[in-house]
């Protein structure tokens, strides 16, 4: 049995396209791997246990990023505490209850908010919070990061809830469930893993932010004691060390970058694990 000419052409074309898409995939993933391994290579040298727990010291005396890790965690915690509930609530409103002219306006504003450069958010919080309080603080930093998170969480929540089949909503309504119980008990759980993905995207996005923190959390060389004073963060520390003239600090900046990326990866894996589909 032999294949006809057109059949062979079709098979060749199919193989060609499959190879092409595979190559593109390898290309995309490959670049990520190159970045990761480059950072690991440059960062691993300065990385040790003391580096992870110590606070910064003058050049030549070592020191670490312990205060920055704690500071980043505090800032992320603050921004999540404000940004995730507010974002989810906005998204639920837009998809479930918004009607008339108001919802489209809110949606447009949320989209605009997503596009605002983060440094503008920083300057805004500087003007509204920092100047009023008369000093930099962890609170101001958390607010700035939350403002960046809200639109991301809101829009992904809205999209994910829209993906829940209408039949589920009708099924619950037909059982005599009031609207709010349908939303809370059926719709949001059905969209939970998608909403979590949105929250994760937002967390990953803000954990890499530096600009809004320069004007708000400012940075610190000490471990944080309360939320009302300036606080260190990994990104600001990386920035400060990277623009310094010292080779030792450059090496520490690489190591801190490696730590930051590992932490973000850790957050991603944890949230994935916690929100994996049970049903």
């Amino acid at each position: 049995m032999s294949f006809s000419g057109t059949d062979r052409t079709r098979r060749t074309a199919s193989q060609l396209m499959t190879t092409l898409t595979a190559l593109c995939t390898f290309g995309a993933v490959g670049i990520l791997l190159i970045i990761l391994s480059y950072i690991a290579m440059r960062g691993i040298g300065a990385l040790n246990l003391r580096f992870l727990f110590d606070s910064p010291r003058p050049v030549g005396e070592g020191g670490g990023i312990g205060n920055a890790i704690v500071g980043s965690a505090v800032l992320l915690g603050l921004s999540c505490a404000v940004g995730i509930p507010a974002g989810i609530a906005t998204g639920v409103y837009l998809s479930e209850f918004g009607s008339g002219w108001f919802a489209p306006v809110v949606r447009f504003l949320v989209d605009t908010l997503t596009g605002i450069p983060s440094i503008v958010t920083g300057v805004f919080v500087y003007g509204v919070v920092v100047l009023r309080m008369k000093h930099f603080s962890a609170l101001a930093g958390g607010i700035a990061l939350a403002l960046i998170m809200i639109p991301i969480v809101a829009r992904t929540t809205e999209e994910m809830i829209r993906l829940v089949p209408h039949s589920l909503r009708e099924g619950a309504l037909a059982l005599g469930a009031p609207q709010w119980r349908v939303t809370l008990g059926v719709i949001i759980p059905a969209a939970a893993s998608g909403i979590a993905t949105g929250a994760m995207l937002a967390i990953a996005r803000v954990s890499g932010e530096t600009a809004p923190l320069l004007f708000t959390a400012f940075g610190s060389r000490f471990f944080p004691r309360n939320l009302n004073e300036p606080i260190a963060s990994l990104t600001v520390q990386i920035y400060n060390y990277a623009i310094s003239p010292y080779d030792e600090w450059h090496a520490q900046a690489w190591a801190a970058t490696l730590v930051l990326m590992t932490l973000i990866l850790g957050i991603n894996i944890t949230v994935r694990f916690l929100t994996r589909k049970k049903f």
Binding site: S99, S167, E170, G171, A172, L173, G176, A177, V186
Partner: protein, 274 residues
């Protein structure tokens, strides 16, 4: 082509059931018009549905039978830009009056949809959902009892009793649909609306659903929309024929399929169109 569609039930039984006045009226619809935006989907529908009987709605696609079914538990309320005129009385109370409570109505009038729509929860939680939100069980053991009872009533218990905690989405299509019936039965409604409940099922699953309908009518008033005329003939006591948003004829199933009053009904049931 034959002019009649054979029914599976013996004749005497049907005629005895067709004595309508002995049954109290459960649902009375008076001069109902329904609009999707400007398009009128239902035109001046008037009919009564007696208690504890099965009424089937038949008619070609787009004739309004599903729309009409959904007016009976105000499910069309969730579709934007729809409008209802006229009265739907259930047990003598107008469900579209300003004082009517739609949540209360839907507890009384359950619904099974064309496409089974189990929640992405466990089998148990699917059936328990209606009981929980309506606070119909005061204890865990009562809840478990009602879930078991509903699953038994829906002829699903034997198949799922060992895996109540596993996902409802792992059931077969026919099982999912019976789960949705169990979910509707659990809150003990008085009326059950079924929108082509077997249209996506194989013949065996279909016959299980049909047997179920015949069992359930001792306790419930059942209204079923079906595309399948044989199915209407098999399960229903009364049949209403819809065409282009109008109710053409309502009769005992026996009469509608063998000697309908309207010529157009006869044309439809004998397969000349539709």
């Amino acid at each position: 082509m034959s002019t009649t569609i054979p029914t599976l039930r013996p004749k005497f039984e049907i005629t005895s059931r067709a004595v309508l006045p002995s049954r109290e009226t459960k649902i009375a619809v008076d001069a109902l018009n329904f609009y999707y935006g400007r398009a009128q989907a239902l035109k001046d529908i008037t009919l009564t549905i007696p208690a504890r009987m099965v009424m089937a709605f038949i008619g070609p696609s787009g004739c309004g039978k599903t729309t009409f079914l959904r007016t009976l538990n105000r499910m069309n309320d969730v579709i934007p830009a729809t409008r209802v005129e006229g009265k739907v009385m259930i047990d003598g109370a107008d469900i579209y009056s300003a004082s009517a409570d739609v949540v209360e109505l839907r507890r009384k009038v359950g619904m099974v949809f064309q496409k089974s729509n189990p929640f992405p929860k466990s089998i148990f939680d699917n059936v328990a959902y209606g009981l929980k939100i309506n606070r119909l069980a005061s204890s865990r053991s009562e809840l478990e009892g009602r879930v078991e009872e509903a699953l038994k009533d829906a002829a699903l218990w034997e198949e799922v009793k060992d895996r109540l905690k596993s996902s409802a989405l792992g059931l077969s299509g026919g099982q999912q649909q019976r789960l949705c019936i169990a979910r509707a039965l659990a809150i003990r409604p008085e009326v059950i609306l079924m929108d082509e409940p077997a249209s996506a099922l194989d013949p065996i699953a279909t016959s299980k659903i049909e047997e179920l309908i015949m069992d359930l009518k001792n306790q419930y008033t059942i209204v079923i929309v079906t595309h399948n005329m044989q199915q209407a003939a098999r399960v229903s006591d009364l049949t209403a024929f819809f065409l282009l948003g109008k109710l053409i004829e309502i009769n005992t199933t026996e009469k509608l399929f063998t000697a309908p009053d309207e010529k157009v009904t006869e044309d439809y049931v004998t397969g000349r169109f539709g």
